[in-house]
Symmetry: C2
Subunit: 181 residues, 2 copies
Amino acid sequence: MTLLDDTATTAFPPAERAERLAAAGAAWADRIERNPDAAHLTYTVTGRGTGAVASAITAGRHRFEVDEPAALAGDDVAASPVEYALGALISCQIVVYRLYAGALGIQLDDIEITAEGDLDARKLFGIDESVRAGFNQVRLTVKLHGPESDERYETLRETVDAHCPVLDLFANPVPTTVVLG
Amino acid sequence: MTLLDDTATTAFPPAERAERLAAAGAAWADRIERNPDAAHLTYTVTGRGTGAVASAITAGRHRFEVDEPAALAGDDVAASPVEYALGALISCQIVVYRLYAGALGIQLDDIEITAEGDLDARKLFGIDESVRAGFNQVRLTVKLHGPESDERYETLRETVDAHCPVLDLFANPVPTTVVLG
């Protein structure tokens, strides 16, 4: 990110963000009150194998590529699946921090998050079937910038963690079915 | 994806893919046999809030943007966090299909996957605290193209699902810690 981008980022008007978030929350509450079924969203994402082990993913009008480094037979043209999973977690946390900072009246100027995920490669390659295939631990470190007290930001963190969709996906099992179609 | 892209995709030499995957598997087995600690990988991904509710994510030398549509106070410049999570699942499945098709000697020409994830927006907005924040169900539909029998592809699917890191992340809880740093 260039300095110009940084300036543009920091310059996003806090009042406009707060207004958008309040309006979004009010619109959802109104929509769901009028029709409870409006709360039930289904996200649909499609992907196709490309290259050696890469994928082209389509989500509505957005597309992104996923690949692996050479050590996993890829061409390293994009981040890997597990890196996208950690990026999904980070970005979801950021949305929910913005949402609840607004709702709780807690000033939050900037936010940076680092996610570390530990993976044992033995299961993937069938070297040891007794370990798990996915992350055995994930650690998030959240840096909140703003003028509020540590206690206020800790209250914000607890509220965010109770309402963050992708944190819930990581921390709890999701009933997942796979069929050949 | 244009027809040209499709041609390029389909044209990836199957023999080269098989060779890369076999070499990658052998290299990992050798590396882990010499030093069991080599199996323990830690992936580190960082992100920073940008725009209204967007994120800029960095994973090694790769970067990607995440945003939300207007209904969630975003500018819709990129896919949303939960869409990236589904894309991570799809792309991880594709890698593992390629890996185990090679290992089991099952011919797999092309692969397409659709993921659907059901989310109840009431928790995110604090309208109903009794529902879960994340996906309450995810459905994957996997289309495998090639000359093998349904039974062979079903065997492949079972093997893939037992070894796929991001499917494990979805289906099982991951101990996840969050600290303000």
